[in-house]
């Protein structure tokens, strides 16, 4: 039986303008990406438009993404989140700058994790989720506001009626908590988890 192509092989096909490779990658990745987008964006039609733009962006930037040999999945989730957050923020009259950061990163040198590291994150997701559930509730709520709403620390402080310094401290503590658990799970650091 023929083996399923890997994401890497599909990306190589996309760089050669192979539409079936893009279609195959869409079948693999679109349910997860659409789930993320619809969590951020309240409008179904806009969510579809955003997903479309993500894949058209991949078609356009495939050569650049392939050259870095990093994980395509990381690029896809960052791109989808940035476009969705910007759409939602524009609708609410807020500055939308998330996508310009992803565009800058797309042009930058090798900062993306290797596909093998991302596969490892996926394999250990269940354990990571269990560990992240131990994150204090206030930190978890701040992380959601930052990641899914794209609120800056100042905007979050206004929203939760807390001093900006405290929000900054709690949000960064939450990310540090996650980083340390990830290191432990990935085997790059031993910690008492």
């Amino acid at each position: 039986m023929a083996q399923e192509p890997t994401v890497r092989q599909l990306l190589a096909g996309i760089t050669q303008h192979d539409e079936s490779a893009l279609g195959h990658l869409y079948d693999m990745e679109s349910p997860g990406l659409y789930g993320l987008i619809t969590e951020i964006v309240s409008d179904g039609k806009a969510a579809q438009e955003i997903l479309k733009e993500v894949f058209i962006g991949l078609w356009r930037d495939a050569k650049r993404i392939e050259a870095r040999e990093g994980s395509v999945r990381v690029w896809l989730v960052l791109e989808a989140r940035a476009r969705a957050v910007d759409w939602q923020r524009s609708k609410e009259g807020l500055r939308a700058t998330a996508h310009s950061r992803v565009q800058w990163l797309t042009k930058s040198d090798s900062w993306t994790p290797r596909p093998a590291d991302i596969e490892w994150v996926d394999k250990r997701r269940h354990l990571l989720e269990k560990l992240v559930r131990r994150l204090p509730k206030p930190q978890s709520e701040l992380l959601t506001l930052a990641i899914m709403k794209g609120f800056t620390e100042t905007e979050i402080a206004r929203q939760v009626e807390q001093p900006p310094g405290r929000v900054e401290h709690e949000l960064r503590a939450g990310l540090r908590f996650l980083r340390h658990r990830l290191r432990a799970v990935m085997g790059t650091w031993s910690a008492n988890i």
Partner: protein, 75 residues
Amino acid sequence: MECQYLDDVYELFLLGLLKPKESAPVKEHVERGCPYCMDHLREAAQSVYFLLSGSKSHTPPHQLKAEILRSLHRK
């Protein structure tokens, strides 16, 4: 280590959530290929990926794939 003071901002940088004065040093280090910052950005990208890829899957409408493939010819 010269860049350790940036340890807590790499995830926020990837998400575009830093104030310009905080993102400027990260940008500058990335541009000059700082190995410490690259390693930490790679690690931060794993955390960000974990957070962003945990949403419940949701199948998009059937016609969207065909629309995307059609629109490639117009690009």
